[in-house]
Symmetry: C2
Subunit: 178 residues, 2 copies
């Protein structure tokens, strides 16, 4: 059985929606997702990058993120033909461990926690595919990297790109591996 | 650079010493490590296995484990020639995440948190070597499994065995890989 590793933030968990809303509320702005094309919020407002980054230090920040549309259905279907591992760079936000674990248990109850991986450097992941919004993780990854579109990576080229979970479904359907 | 993945409990963190001490205190017993040869405490006292297993649900349980002798020095030396990843089956004890992270930061400050991996099924680990006390993790591991002696695995055969961190040092010295 081939194996698909799947990132959390910006792939199955809508990090940007919550982060941007909190920012707009607290700093009296009305930035949209389009304003983040090719960049990150903390790069767009460098003079307050510290405050912007501080939101994710709240241990509860990751607990109530929206589920990215289609991810549950498509991952459940894929789990019948592939081993699914959720591989998140949680070491970047150590306070997020419990929230991320509980979020996964709530929204992806058909997956086993034994297949959750909280890591930092994803080159440690042994899988055939990695669906991730951050192309840095593909550099030393031994399998095939699949770039999941997020505002910050919109201008990245050189990777197989999927824009949403419908695209992921089509990608694996077209492989005819099973 | 080749890569060594290293387990925590019973390899760098002395799980049994604390667990057995707590048990002996609370249940008025005087079991020794030798009593655990080839078994586990909860198998030795099946009628109270639930209580015995409950100790590790305390979020602080893993925070003050003793460091296994020699692990710091040998891992620091190995880290000059190998990429070191700490790979622990933390998903078996989700309440342990923070304690395990803080313990690693305290006792292995020369390692980067980006190389900590909290997982369940270790077949997800992409490394050349895995030093672990639990042979179940070697079954689907793509690299070389190295069994670190712990009371419960004393009768296991069929694996390269190291009894302590001096043995680990010798093992890698004898490889002449560098």
């Amino acid at each position: 059985m081939k194996r698909i590793a799947i990132d959390m933030d910006e792939v199955i968990a809508d990090f940007v929606f919550k982060h941007l809303n909190l920012y707009n509320r607290d700093f009296n702005e009305s930035l949209s997702v389009e304003d983040l094309y090719g960049t990150r919020l903390w790069k767009l407002r460098p003079h307050i990058s510290k405050e912007i980054l501080a939101y994710v230090n709240d241990p509860a920040f990751f607990r109530d993120l929206r589920v990215i549309k289609g991810s549950q259905e498509v991952i459940q279907a894929l789990s019948e033909k592939y081993e699914i591992f959720i591989t998140t760079a949680a070491m970047e936000h150590p306070s997020s461990f419990t929230a991320k674990y509980e979020w996964l248990e709530e929204h992806f109850p058909f997956l086993t926690a034994m297949n959750f991986v909280f890591c930092g450097d994803k080159s440690i992941i042994h899988a055939d595919y990695l669906i991730d919004d951050n192309p840095k993780h593909f550099r030393r990854f031994i399998g095939k990297g699949i770039l999941f579109t997020a505002p910050h990576n919109i201008h990245e080229t050189g990777y197989v790109r999927v824009n949403n979970w419908h695209d992921v479904k089509q990608y694996f359907r077209n492989l005819h591996e099973n």
